[in-house]
Symmetry: D2
Subunit: 257 residues, 4 copies
């Protein structure tokens, strides 16, 4: 599977820095180890290398979903892969799923969601700030997921158009604003997931979830710890991200008639 | 979407315990809150409830991928959702991916992998102990993923039949036994992921990965911390799982000719 | 320094279980590896061993402060060494310090505090439940720290008799009940430390501390992770204590006149 | 207890930054909020305040042991309070204890140890690099603990002069170099504590400890997580120190004759 003009590639420098670029004809990319001609990548395969004007070798890797998430142009704090991956599993999102996401932020989570529901599913996004939609949409389309995402300039409080969706993801400062809307949009047994940085938000959200008719509510945080692995000198790294946010998961129980 | 005879359902008891069962006609399930007739679930929707002989209400929920993983019949330690979800994201596995997994264990990870590659992808499993294949296969088929999984009674050391796969997952006591085989089976830029409980295994594995021609190697562990969320009394829970294993991720660079 | 009649000894069994006992003449102690005659320890030194009736060797170790804390007779949840040690350092407690502690609990923290202030300092304890004082006092005296501890059957809300103390430790369900009393008892620059299991308690306490005139307020939790260290098989242990409580530390600023 | 000429004071700025200074006559200290005349602190009490030339109020606090540790002039990585406090408790160090410490580093741990053993105990330090002794000694004396510390320009491998000490603290790149020396210097039941950043060091150290005759060996790490506590917005802080080192604790069993 040869790399073609305009394909996305992840360029790996010798110092383990990475750059997400398009293999566009005549495009040049400046690094502190010389200039790369992206032309050179066209016709090669992932795993091959190209050489800069200063004779340094750079590897051409296939961009993973994580690479695409981490390299979005950021207008907001993004949702990290450690949290995005748990959302996918906890919400049981897969090919064909129909999912609502609000707010949209910079679209990093959307890329992971769109990848998971594609090719047959759909991601419906709601965001009340137009400039966020513009940026996120560009990020999502650049990552190759334009087809399965819909955009709504609208507040979660005002409800969602869809019915019977499999999952609703709330990334809102006041997640309770979206809980009633989510209940109405979800099918029975569907999953609601809320992300919040503060303990007060989860306390308030859980209270609303219980009152609205959600069950099997669970709250946790995910911490990742990287290791420096070298023979005879292996140890955890010194500085880590100590906190991004808490995830709350709940499932919709139908109202008793 | 009404529940049909033989559908998998997750029954939620009032004490938040769950049971993964088939809604089979005339089947009965004994709980400490009375007997459930699974017949009663047929024709209902997820999110509805059924009532036991002791007049206790149980909810019928849709089994998520996580539910299916956690409820497998275990012959081995299983890979937990927190680790499985990171494997999926880091290896960038999605609909259509072709993935090799070895060893097979009890098939919990296979369920998450099969869900992610379906409907168009394929999971090729390698396991040298026949009794593990028998149990894991039953678990995978019970979870509804029989179609996209292949089974090989074979040792990772002896190589994989497939070529150009997107990802290889190694869950082996000596992960280095599978590294050369993985290199041969992967396409350029493809991802290798190894899981190990001890620090010594990751040190040895990373050393082998570097020598074999893998790049962008990363090792981390994922820790999950649950919270007891009640208004005015919110706190982390007392006892947690402190360790399952380390994940090492690497990508295949092609050999320079 | 030979062990004498009635000295406290820590007996270490071959399975790494420990027993805190007195080397009392004619006393016998039953284990699943035979009966120990404590007589045998008298005249020996710490680090020596004694042999049970089933010919198993047990080591005689000197009880550390931690051993004494962990072996108290418990009527309440105790404060763990990981938290007690941070209290000592953060409150800057040393020989000669004058410290107030309330509530008393089972006296485990008191043992660590009394050890730190001895021989010239003083620990003033306040506890409103008499049965806790009776048990804690016995624990503290058994641990050898009877001399430097005073007991008050009284509520933190009703104030402390002492003035100009170096530190006040609050282990109360409503720590704010003791904050004003602590302010009055502390000297300028003195430290207040509050322990609480819930996030709501720390939020409320910090608010009260700021209003009362405390400064340099800091809140954290301490997590300890043990390792199974064996050549070639080293890894974190599986199950850990995920949470005991949060510590809040503050210092008294004098009121501006 | 009024502040006197040359007393150590901790100055707290309005932005919660702190400065450890001497209240020396005519001394001035420049801040971005104006100049402080340290003269002004003399005759005041801890908890009082002084005002800068730009009319900003700074508080005068009593330096705690932690303040003194954290403000040493650093020639090396220092041992953090979270680890120092566990060393004190695990080694059961108190007034009158006789303790050996090697290497000396910048003397931060020495300050905590000296404070704990004073006034009647002794800290014997061993360090093979003279420039470290010079710096650490100045740090220790500045912190007010000159009297109870002795300095030896010598390698742990060459043995310690003292016999029958209560505890030995090893902070060495090859901790096993000091294990035999520690065994000889300790009394029966005495504690050895070793600190190391890598997993390989703890594996090697534990192996040597077992062979040398140490028992009840335990290895752990301590992680501290700070919280941003504000009413309605409480959450863990974003960035934390993920790793400093592992602590291994062991006790000396006497050789059987």
């Amino acid at each position: 599977m040869k790399i073609k003009h305009n394909d996305l590639v992840l360029i790996l420098a010798p110092d383990n820095k990475t750059y997400l670029l398009r293999a566009t004809k005549e495009k040049k990319f400046h690094t502190n180890k010389g200039i790369l001609k992206l032309d050179d990548a066209i016709g090669k395969e992932f795993g091959d290398s190209i050489v800069s004007t200063l004779d340094t070798t750079f590897l051409i890797l296939e961009p993973t979903i994580e690479d695409r998430m981490m390299k979005v142009k950021r207008q907001t704090q993004i949702i990290y892969p450690k949290d995005a991956s748990m959302i996918l599993l906890k919400a049981s999102i897969g090919a064909g799923s129909r999912v609502i996401e609000t707010g949209l932020g910079s679209g990093a989570l959307s890329i992971a969601l769109a990848n998971a529901v594609s090719p047959t599913g759909k991601l419906y996004t709601y965001e009340r700030r137009e400039e966020f939609i513009v940026n996120a949409r560009k990020n999502i389309e650049d990552a190759g997921f334009g087809d399965c995402v819909e955009y709504n300039l609208s507040d979660a409080k005002d409800g969602f158009k869809e019915k019977g969706v499999d999952a609703v993801i709330l990334d809102l400062p006041s997640p309770w604003d979206g809980i009633q809307s989510a209940y109405k949009a979800l099918r029975g047994g569907g999953r609601l997931i809320s992300l919040s940085p503060t303990v007060n938000q989860i306390e308030e959200a859980v209270d609303h979830l219980e009152k609205e008719g959600f069950v099997f509510i669970e709250t946790f945080e995910t911490i990742q710890r990287h290791y420096l692995v070298r023979r005879g000198k292996t140890r955890p790294i010194d500085r880590i991200i100590g906190h991004t946010g808490f995830l709350t998961i709940a499932r919709k129980a139908n109202k008793q008639l």
